[in-house]
Each structure stands twice: as structure tokens, then as C-alpha cells.
Symmetry: D2
Subunit: 291 residues, 4 copies
Amino acid sequence: MQLGLIGLGRMGFNMRERLRAAGHEVIGYDQHPDVTDVSSLSELVEKLAAPRVVWIMVPVQFTESTIDELSGLLGEGDIVIDGGNSRFSNDKPRADRLGAKGIGYLDVGVSGGVWGRTNGYALMVGGPKQHVEHCMPIFEGLKPEGEFGFAHAGEMPGAGHYAKMVHNGIEYGMMHAFAEGYELLETSEYVDNIPEIIKSWRAGSVVQSWLLDLLDRALDEDPDLARIKGYADDTGEGRWTVEEAIRLAVPMNVIAASLFARFASRQEDSPAMKAVAALRNQFGGHAVKKG
Amino acid sequence: MQLGLIGLGRMGFNMRERLRAAGHEVIGYDQHPDVTDVSSLSELVEKLAAPRVVWIMVPVQFTESTIDELSGLLGEGDIVIDGGNSRFSNDKPRADRLGAKGIGYLDVGVSGGVWGRTNGYALMVGGPKQHVEHCMPIFEGLKPEGEFGFAHAGEMPGAGHYAKMVHNGIEYGMMHAFAEGYELLETSEYVDNIPEIIKSWRAGSVVQSWLLDLLDRALDEDPDLARIKGYADDTGEGRWTVEEAIRLAVPMNVIAASLFARFASRQEDSPAMKAVAALRNQFGGHAVKKG
Amino acid sequence: MQLGLIGLGRMGFNMRERLRAAGHEVIGYDQHPDVTDVSSLSELVEKLAAPRVVWIMVPVQFTESTIDELSGLLGEGDIVIDGGNSRFSNDKPRADRLGAKGIGYLDVGVSGGVWGRTNGYALMVGGPKQHVEHCMPIFEGLKPEGEFGFAHAGEMPGAGHYAKMVHNGIEYGMMHAFAEGYELLETSEYVDNIPEIIKSWRAGSVVQSWLLDLLDRALDEDPDLARIKGYADDTGEGRWTVEEAIRLAVPMNVIAASLFARFASRQEDSPAMKAVAALRNQFGGHAVKKG
Amino acid sequence: MQLGLIGLGRMGFNMRERLRAAGHEVIGYDQHPDVTDVSSLSELVEKLAAPRVVWIMVPVQFTESTIDELSGLLGEGDIVIDGGNSRFSNDKPRADRLGAKGIGYLDVGVSGGVWGRTNGYALMVGGPKQHVEHCMPIFEGLKPEGEFGFAHAGEMPGAGHYAKMVHNGIEYGMMHAFAEGYELLETSEYVDNIPEIIKSWRAGSVVQSWLLDLLDRALDEDPDLARIKGYADDTGEGRWTVEEAIRLAVPMNVIAASLFARFASRQEDSPAMKAVAALRNQFGGHAVKKG
């Protein structure tokens, strides 16, 4: 099947490779001349036969402008897919805007990171069933082999990004559960060989998981994680997950705590703990450390 | 290799099966005449050739009395293994008590649940290296095939149970991360088909794990979990993990929140929330629900 | 000073009383004929001498429409004050809309609940300094006697509601700290007389506070809180506080946990804990309770 | 009334002053010759008329040895009071040990810090009613004037320390609620004058409290808390409170989070966040900061 693919960065580039290896015709566009197949969006659209399918895989701050430009180039019966990390609430306005011109829209949450090219990408898709069916060969080419790795999460625009957001929220919580366990092992006088303990859990245990495999891999490279600072960014999905929990009145202590720990990891000093230290000094005469 | 195995419940029974299938000679003792191979602990000990290895797999409230009885039956050079869910802090006194008679002691954390008989059990062992080496054939018979599933966690008595405790603490956090994500999906108007979304994550995604596979399995059996009440017991390891975090000054918001959620799941009503409702009524005249 | 006051419910009615007792001329408007002084907003505006000051104290869902109507009735130099529980982010658009007609706008967070008529209301005000100064006599009439109870939180529209929002977020955390302590006392076998213990903290202790006084009062009325269900609504400010923490990357485990506890208090059963129970059943054969 | 007082540090010294001002005869013992009234414990005991009352106010690591020494010096009908920060679980063994010699024992939780000399100390007492009644004049001399500030928390040894422990747990949660609110104000672009906002809450608001007064005081001295590092020790009661929550299956997210935040405040770097950073690097190629 023929696909236009916009954005050939770390993710898009690998997706093009995987799709081509699966026998699909992918025409890629990127601002970097080294990787692009065409010189402009309009050339990309010209090279595709109608009804066209165009997959956007650009950094999220460029998604809206790309959709704007595409809406002037595409026409009735074409389909736009956003596979980037958009907030699910942005999908309905896009679907409406494109729909007014007869252009279809699907939102796809894509998981898999740097391993996706080899292992396949887990795909969660939102949008009308007939568009999903039309694009199914592309999804088949990207997803892992076997019965898993693809879901039509819902007909509502945003359903795909929503499912991916929840996936990432869970990921935050799982990672932090491992992180807390690692810190306890690392602090305790009872155990000697943490990498060996982690390794033992990779078979027969309840916590078997890909994240555990990766933790083992990281400890093989750096047994005390001495070369890594305890600092982590966040990329939106964790925040949106907790925002949704608030909107829908869902208790979410675990994922929220994982998110807050990332916030704290980026602080030089904690204003909250300054206030605690100041209060202890006021009522108990407890010494404070100078700031 | 020859092994005495005390306790043939859900875990011990299956372990005997797995070890026998691996070619070991296992003499099992249990109070239930249907499953036991001998009629008493003393008969068990008589049937074993010195140096004897005796593995205890009894409910944790019977472990101390079993060790007491064994310490009168065994002798110099024999080895006792506790594979039950003992608190790690109980192992040092046991090792000392048995050591005074020349009897060795190993503590083993065993993971694998009902699946261990087929898949093998992850084993984390604490105690002296020479005892670990002596018992290695038994460990090889129990552990999963391949390079993973076994660790000598440390020489200190309790190291094995400690590693298992941390494993279970992580398990609490992972389970609750999935649980919060599931609840958000279940509450949101954006997604339709939750079992399909869960299934999609089983390949290509970052949250791939055995627990995810089991969640998928549970949803296949009961798509809305309508037949299950939101009630969960806890079996000690989660509490001990948080107690250790407190002792060692390790921040542990995620695992603690998972534990507290289990506590809350078992309450008919929350005394804390009664107090909140009473306070809101006092200062704001907010209506209360009658208790 | 002359003031138009729209909304004479629990809060507005008491504020009119307090202001009149302080010697101000208050013309109140409400849909309920029993309490209103005028029969319409236009009559209210007619009765005020320019430059007019009109204070809105209506349920938050009616604030925008009230401002719309007022913007057609008021003119250059008049000032509108919103003292309701608006989200801080709604104030800038209102200030801009009214400002286009030369009408000033102040947002005021009001604390004090049913006790404010007697004790005075804590006021946090956002908006331009000259408007704050113009309305100062009204603020003086409403605030408690003495040096505390009033702040000009910032010139930016929303500053007042923002300060009140944070106040309420703190209130959530304080209430839940008391609630957790109360539950521990109520559960422990060590202490006998909880109301007496609570009472003892009201002097000489670090936790002395108005909320403690109210908890003591509630226990005087109902020593076991037996007549109150552990159920609590939330009114927006707690959610907005945590949303702001997420926007600004501020770790906020305590206030978030207080909010999530309210969410949980309103659930018949916990979907998250259903998932935990299902997982425990899958891997360990642990019994589940039937839903 | 006559009292022997052992330990004349920050707390004990001030308590002697307050008791003497109330007309009691206090004989104090301390290792520092500048403050002590007698040169040894035996001299202290000799100077007291039977039945003697001896109040221990020493650092907690010296409490057991002091009780040991006293049990050899005191006799039938005398009473020992521990007013230090002992764990409640230590009181029963002490009561039994002293009781075997006919010596009574009371445990007293004392709140008030450096302000107690002037304002009085909140006292929570555990032990037999007749001992409490016997010592009541001393308690009256120490407690604040008025109806509050004293409770007989229970007959069980430890009841007084238990009530004080819960008090301090609540204190942790309240302080951290203020701390989180302060940090949000300090981070937000919406508000200008944080000290003025804090001050406004001191009258008419729901969060009125002694801790709020102290926060205001701290900000008067250092408006940005620029001279204070965000570092806080903990003194036992917070840990014990959460340990008790675990023992009694009481959900305690708020107080636990406050405790964990103190732990985190003392870390140079977070091992848990190193693990999170390592995992993100492994699956997503996200850059790490060098350790």
C-alpha cells in the first residue's frame, strides 16, 4: 500500500524502514535533505494516488501547522493520520476541521521507542471504523508479528491518543515501582549483589517485564548507576493522565507520585522543604541548613 | 539429589512434582495423610542420608516450631532451608540457633505462584556460599530453564527473604499502576474497547509484562470485572517493604500508596473520611451523608 | 460606602448583614423575593450612584451570564467584583471584556464560611491597585478586625482567586492530616478517650488550629462520628490546585492524596482494586470476593 | 508539690522555670554543673520526701539507663514519669520492671517546644488513674491556662506517648500541606506578594493555625526563605506513626508522603531517579545527565 510519511526523525525514519521491509511504498518528507524523498509537502501529495493516506510523525509543536498545510493540499476521500504525541483533546477539532473538506482523520498512539523498527510498534487507533479498515495494511506493517500490538481503541477522535496516554501513565508507575525497589536494595545492608537479584527476577517471577529486562541491561552497563544523574524529564502523557484522573474523579496516587518524583528530580532545592525547615526552626528551635 | 520437603500445600506439592520430574529424590512430609510420604518429622529425617537437606515450606506461623523440632532431629553438617514467606529479620536468630548445633541454614525467597510447577520458580537465596553450592542441584531443579531465575542475594541470613520482599513490594506498585490505568480507561468516555486496548500492549509496548498478560487473561474471562469485588488482602511483604523504607529513610510513595489502597479496600467505611465530612460540615455547613 | 451585591444566598446574605452593621449602604439583588432589595439588575444599577461598585456572589455557573448582563448596564469608571469560587483562569477574559467598556474588574477569594458574618471574612484580591484602593472601605467592612484577613495578592486578574485556591488546597491537606491521625487513634488499642486527646491539643500544642477546634466541636456532638458517613464532595479548588501543580511542575503528594481520598470516598466499589484482586487471583490463586 | 526533674536541657530547663513560677518545689539534676541542683541521682532521691515523683526529661538514648538507675534508688509508692520522646512500645516493659518493685510509672507526651515555658505545654498522659491524680498538681503547673492542654489518654502504658506520636504525625502532614501551598504560590506567575497572602489567612480563614502564624513569622524574617536550605531531619514520631498505620492497616498517604519528603530532602541524589533515568534511556534513547 502507498503511504505519505511526514517527519523522518528517530521514530519516523525507523517506521519508513519497517514499512518498506514489509513491502509498502512509503514516500517520506522531512526538512532534512539527507533523509527526505521529496522536496515539499505539495510534491509529496502530488506523488500519492487518490485516495491518499498521509501519516504525520512530527514533533508535537509542528502538528497543527502541518495539518493546516495538508488541509489545503488534500481532498475528499483522503485520510490524515497523526501518530505523534498529541494530547487526545486536540484530535476532535482536527477531525472536524478536516472533515469539513471531506478529509478523514485518525489518531494513533505509537509505542515502541528505539526498539520498534525490529520488534514492531504497538498501535492504538482512534477514529471511524471505515478509515481504520482502509489503513489496516499500514497498521499491519508497523505492528509486531502475532496477535498483539494493535487496537481500535474507539470511534471518538482522540481514542488512540487516549489509550497511549494511559499506557504511558502506567509506564510511569511501573518504572517508579522498580526504582523504589532498586533504591531499597541499594540502601540495605542485607543484600550484596543487586544486578544478580534483578537478573533472577527475569524468569519465574511475578515482576517479569520488558522494563525489568531493560533495568538488568542498564545495570550490566553500569552496576551502580554511578554514571547517571537522578534526573528525569517528562513528555506530557504523564501529566495528562493525572489531569484526566482529576477531571474524572479517579483516585491515582501511584501514577501521580511517579510524576511528582520527576518534578522533584529537576529541582536544585525544594521550596516546600525550605518552608518545612523554617517551620521546624520556628516552633522547635531545630537548626536549619543555610541556603 | 535427596531432599526432605516439609509442607505439601499449594506451593510445596507443586515443588515436589517439579523436583521429581527433574530426577531428584524428594521425601515429603505433611499433616495431611493423602499427600505425605512419611508419618512424622522423625521418620523424614531417618529416611534421609547425612548430610541431610530439609526444605521447610509451611505457613509462616508454623515455621519457628518446625525449626525447633528439626533442631532436635538434625545434626552437624545438615542444612535447613526455609522457603516460606518469613520476615527477613527472623532468619539471623534461626541461623544462630541452628548454627550452635552445627546445622546450616539458608533462607530462600520463592516466586512463581501457581505457575511455578510448569515455568519454574524464581529463587533468591541468603546464606553462606558453601551451603548454597551444596544445595545447588535442588535450586537448579526448581528454577526456570535458562540463565535467569536464581540469585545468591547475599551471605547474610535473611538476604534471600529480603530480595523476595522487595520483589513483592515492586509487584504491589506494578499491579496498582495497571489498576489505576485500567480504572481511568474504564471511566473515560473516550475509549470503547478496554480488553482490546490491554491486548494491544502485549507486544511492542513499554508495559509488556507478565502482569499485563494476566490482566488480559482476567478480562477475557470477565470483560468488566463485574464478578469481582474491589477487595484485596496483603500477605506481609508489602508492609515489610514500607517498614524497611522507613527504617532506611528511603522515599517510597508508590509502593506505600499501593499498600494503603489495599487497606482502604477492606474498610466498610473510612474513619478518616468521616472526620473530613465532619469538618466540612462544621466550617462550611456542607451537608453530610448519614452514617 | 455604597455597594450593589448580587446573590444573597448563604454567603451573600451574611455579607450584606456584616456590611450594613459596619455602616455601609448595601443594595442587594437576588432571585428570591424574600431577600432581595430590588426587582432586577437594572433597578439595582439605577439605584447606585456612579462610579458604581457591584459585587457578584452567585453560584459559579451563573457568574458569566451575570457579568454579561452587567456589562450592558454599567459604564466607564464602574467596578465589578467577583467574590465567588471562579477558577482563576476565567478572570483575565472577564477583565478584558469589561475593560473594553471602561469598566474595572476585581477578583476576590473569600474565606470564612458560615462563621464569616461574626468573625469577618479573609479576603484575597486580584486586580489593579487603584480599583483595590477605591473599594477598600468595603473590604475593611468585610474583613476581620485587626491586622490580618486581607491581601492584595497581585495586579494580575485572577491573583485573588489563585490565592484562595491555594488556601483551599492547603485546607484539604490539613483536614486530611487530622483525619488520618483521628483514624489511627480510633483504630489503636493504646488510647481510650479520643475526644479528650483532641481537646488537649487545643492549647500548648503545635497543631493548634481552627480546624482542630472544629474537630473537637464535632466530637462533642458525636463522639464516634457514628452519625456521619465517610463521604466528601469537592468544590473545584482542590482539583485546580493539583492541576496547577502539574502545570508548574510542583511536587504535591500531600494535597493530591487528600483530593484522591475524596474521590475514593464517593465510589461504591473501586475499579482499580477490582483489577488488583483479579491479578492476585490470576498469579497466586488468591480467592476473590464476588462483586 | 515536690518534684525531682532529671534532664535540664532546652525542654527540662524551661519546665523547671515554669513549675517554680507556679509555686512548686523542683529539684533538678543534670550532668552540666551550671544548671543542676544536686550532684547525683542518689542525692536527688535523698532530697525528695516519700512518696517521691521523679520526672525524666533526658535525650531518648539515655532514658533506659536512667530508669535502671532510678529503680535501684526509689521504692514502694514512688512514681517515675517519662516525659521524653520515647516510642510508646517501650513503656509497658518499663512499667512492668518498675511495678515489680512497687514503683509507679507514667508516660507523658509533651508538646510545646521553645514556646512552652511561656504558653504552657500540652500534656498527654498514659498510666493508672490513681498515679495521674497524684501527679495532677505538677501537670496543672505545666499545662497552659484554661480548659485545654491536658489529657489522660489511657490507662495502658504508652497511651501518652502514643497520643503525642499521633499529634506529631498530624503535625508532619499539616506542615507539608502549608509547604506545598507555599511552593505553588512561590512558583506561580499569578501572585506577587506571598508574605501578604500568608498574613491574610491569619484571620477569618479556614487554615488559621499556630503553624500559619509561624510561617508568617519566618517570612517576615526571610521573605523568600533564601537563607534556608530545603533540608529537614525527622525525630522518630513521624516514622512510628506510619509504622503504626502499617500495623493497624490504616491508609495514611498524607502523613507518609510528608515523611518521605523529609527523607528525600536529605539525599544528595536519588537512587530511584537514577533508575528511572536509566530506564528512559534504555527504551526511548532519552538523554541522561551524567552522575
